[in-house]
Symmetry: C2
Amino acid sequence: MDFKTEFKPLTVQPQEIEEKSFEMITEELGPHPFTEEQYPVVQRVIHASADFELGRSLLFHKDAIRAGIEAIRQGRKVVADVQMVQVGISKPRIEKFGGEVKVYISDPDVMAEAKRLNTTRAIISIRKAIREAEGGIYAIGNAPTALLELIRLVKEGEAKPGLIVGVPVGFVSAAESKEELAKLDIPYITNLGRKGGSPVAVAAVNAISLMAERLG
Amino acid sequence: MDFKTEFKPLTVQPQEIEEKSFEMITEELGPHPFTEEQYPVVQRVIHASADFELGRSLLFHKDAIRAGIEAIRQGRKVVADVQMVQVGISKPRIEKFGGEVKVYISDPDVMAEAKRLNTTRAIISIRKAIREAEGGIYAIGNAPTALLELIRLVKEGEAKPGLIVGVPVGFVSAAESKEELAKLDIPYITNLGRKGGSPVAVAAVNAISLMAERLG
């Protein structure tokens, strides 16, 4: 190395930092309404956001965790709404079961179709995902229009996702889209309010893929 | 399209949604301590997080905005600590001035060196960045160790970044690393407390590159 000064070697390994963080979260969160199988998702969302209010705002369909684990173990695709979610999701645990993490929003055909139809790339990318990733996990951290289109297609009987992780952040349509998701009787993870975002979607999927892996 | 049902055309364009969100933020935030040139960063951070507390926790070195704009207009590199930050930063406004957005953390030489020295890839990636992106903008949303190493190199006189956007999130070292950053007399944007993360780093850089572009 071409620096005059040298850093000190690590005294704490990254794995220990994560474990310590998780202990702090459990202690500070205190009593909570989540089940044992839901809690790893809550914990990892708080870890990614340092926001207990956001963690407490999470809502789970009763079959969400089981359905998410099954989708991963069956090698179903994970579909991200945006690239930030796609790159954040840990790949090895999904790929070992034959799955992959896809994002369609910047595909040339999606961009062309959105322009032609005067709509958002997010909406068109969801329609492409339904064709290519049926039964998969949909991780939506940014685009309320993507989530609303997915909900519409589910209601119309045209889509049957394995699990929807719908946690868009924002001031216009985000909270409303999540309220609509929470009315569906299909596996979902969402949260109420404006908060959410890419790291929340990533944390939820990574928590589930860890559970899928630990089943062996 | 091969769906039986068809979505409604958009009644509100994405650009209008962003403008409406920004208006809501200004109205709800009310009186604040930020200068006119700092406010676009605050506004975009709140837009990305829906978190007014996080927005209010931002701290700016007095030269931060001017230095960030200059770095972009001089075509300096923008260095992201992790891929989520790299993909989130808007590229065209940086590339039009000759800059680019780099991330070194998964480079094979960085991974090998971190293993050899028993340290984090984040630390080694910062050392590589200093060699390749001197005078650039450092956007650190995740890795406190990266920020601490950068601060150490600045103090030792071995690094001279154009602007440090240091907003790592987390329970161990994140808040401490940001307190250290806020003691430096070089251009920085940071926030106090545990919150932060990739979208915050992305929002800050995107707000600055927009200001750089608007100067024409």
